[in-house]
Symmetry: C2
Subunit: 343 residues, 2 copies
């Protein structure tokens, strides 16, 4: 809301958003020193850092040229993070894998943005309240140069608020510009397998949730072809959910690398590159307007460069663009408008 | 908020957002046939349509090659619009001048987005209410190819809600990638002159408001170098405000064309084009995250392609990019961080 008091608001906002300091050495741990080794806080951080190292190393092999550069930072309010970014490599225009731990207090509005259900009502929080919390997550987006190769995103996170309230969230999803059925089947298949190992109800539920979450309402289309998505997950033994989240996070190279091997060197036309750029525009629209992770990050004093690492290197918007009926572009877009079951 | 009921919400959203029908012939008037000729509704529409024709014609002269293509549409809920878009010309990669009239009812949340102050409290509207309204406006963004030439935006609008509540809003602002002091002085000077003719208090107030409005909070910088901005303006005779809005809208070619004549054919390097693209990325961030016009449009069933016409043809995001200290890019950026008085 814009009025004459915005100037003050601005200053505060900038202070809050810019309270990250770079550190030269990557810290051994980002959680509070007093957190016990067997706590979920400590173990979740260990898991996401292991996943970060493993995934960066597998993706570097695919790229064959560029390496992930790591920036680490601590947050004055509590916590810190490590952003690993591969910039303009041979295969990827931009790939990032971020881990972060954030704790302290956050505005009620930010917590609302962090959870699908909102804050559990019986804890009595309301608008304007400030809420103690802990959050740890890994978040990744990879944008390849080749329009035949899909963009991917994943995110796994663990939250705590006061009074023993905790939940897990996460998911992995694929965004091709051009749809190769076999790729999407493979990708969904990997996550179905991980899900089925834990609960046969997971995959159908999380696949549907993913299609619903990545909906660009004003376009009437999804960002991509989904995968799995879950949030507010606290209805099982936390050990069991932790194991599931771990396996889903670690499954990423199995899901993505075989697709990249097939697509990264395919020939393509300038027109196909342009279609990819238009789809990157849609990706940007989703992330800036709807993505809960982005909104949460902006509201809780996330590190801007880490949050917006998810944006593509380049994107394009053409006025009133529609692919020709029957074209590969048109067919690919139909899958984003009307999602289907791939496995 | 994502949960299992989103699927239903989606359908409704799509229905609401897609209720525009193209019409072959541009309608003579977009307001209700029963609105009297001397009403502000009718006269404001006449004004913005005259401004649209005049500005498109002046900009076509600058481009020298491409013409504005006009799409006109009517809105099922009430009203309609004419989008004039120049696509990939000799000078402009994208330029659009839209007029629209929207009336009917809108959600309280949308009205809140439409005004800096929110709905006048004494009318007793609250969250969840549906409010009768009328809105008419002209909105324009022009993105030139040449990184030495600035992007510009303007918008002038007239609103009514129930019970005789009305207000005007608007403004014109400039967004260079590379700052030429003389250009910004000229641009601000034109609007100061228009303002001063009406009220010496206007320019200082509206210049400050503009700097505040186009603030990208998470970046701690403005989208550009401002100009004038006003909203909720209803504290003078509507005839006087109408006259001011008309003159400000019509002043656009005087403010912009001389700058374009100087910059449109300047030589530039690939690195300078890249800096422009990064600034286009910031432009996109502002429009999708903060711009009230965009949010209002999305919430009131605006025509998506007309609203998002404001996005650049192409944009770029590089991880943690900072221009070198002392460079022209750095110096230009400083003006967006710490706005100064140009006239």
């Amino acid at each position: 809301q814009v009025n004459m008091s915005v100037a003050e608001g601005e200053k505060k906002a900038v202070d809050r958003w810019s309270d990250h300091s770079y550190v030269d050495k990557i810290p051994d741990s980002l959680v509070k020193a007093s957190d016990p080794a067997q706590s979920m806080r400590v173990r979740f951080e260990k898991m996401v850092r292991k996943a970060q190292d493993y995934i960066c190393s597998e993706i570097e092999k695919v790229d064959g040229k560029a390496k992930f550069q790591r920036d680490s930072w601590v947050r004055q309010g509590g916590g810190g993070g490590i952003s690993a970014v591969l910039n303009q490599g041979a295969v990827f225009e931009k790939a990032g894998v971020n881990v972060s731990v954030v704790y302290g207090t956050m505005p009620f509005e930010a917590l609302k943005a962090a959870t699908g259900k909102g804050v559990p009502r019986n804890h009595g929080y309301k608008e304007g309240d400030v809420i103690p919390f802990f959050a740890c997550g890994i978040s990744s987006v990879m944008h390849p140069w080749n329009p035949m190769a899909p963009t991917v995103h994943f995110n796994y996170r663990y939250f705590e608020t006061e009074g023993g309230v905790w939940w897990f969230g996460g998911g992995t999803d694929i965004t091709p510009s051009y749809v190769f059925d076999e790729d999407v089947k493979h990708f969904h298949g990997v996550y179905k397998k991980v899900c089925d190992k834990h609960d046969p109800a997971y995959f159908p539920k999380m696949k549907k949730w993913c299609d619903e979450y990545f909906f660009i309402a004003h376009r009437g289309e999804r960002r991509g072809l989904g995968g799995i998505f879950f949030d507010d997950m606290n209805d099982k033994d936390p050990e069991e959910i932790f194991k599931f989240a771990t396996e889903a996070a670690m499954a990423f190279p199995d899901a993505y690398v075989p697709i990249m091997q097939k697509r990264k060197d395919m020939a393509y036309t300038p027109a196909q590159k342009e279609w990819q750029q238009l789809r990157r525009g849609r990706y940007t629209e989703f992330n800036l307007i709807y993505d809960r992770g982005t909104i949460f990050g902006l509201k809780t004093g996330g590190r801007i460069e880490s949050i917006l690492m998810s944006l593509p290197l380049t994107a394009r918007w053409e006025y009133d663009h529609h692919p020709a009926e029957g074209s590969w572009e048109h067919k690919s877009l139909q899958y984003m408008i009307n999602p289907i079951d791939w496995v």
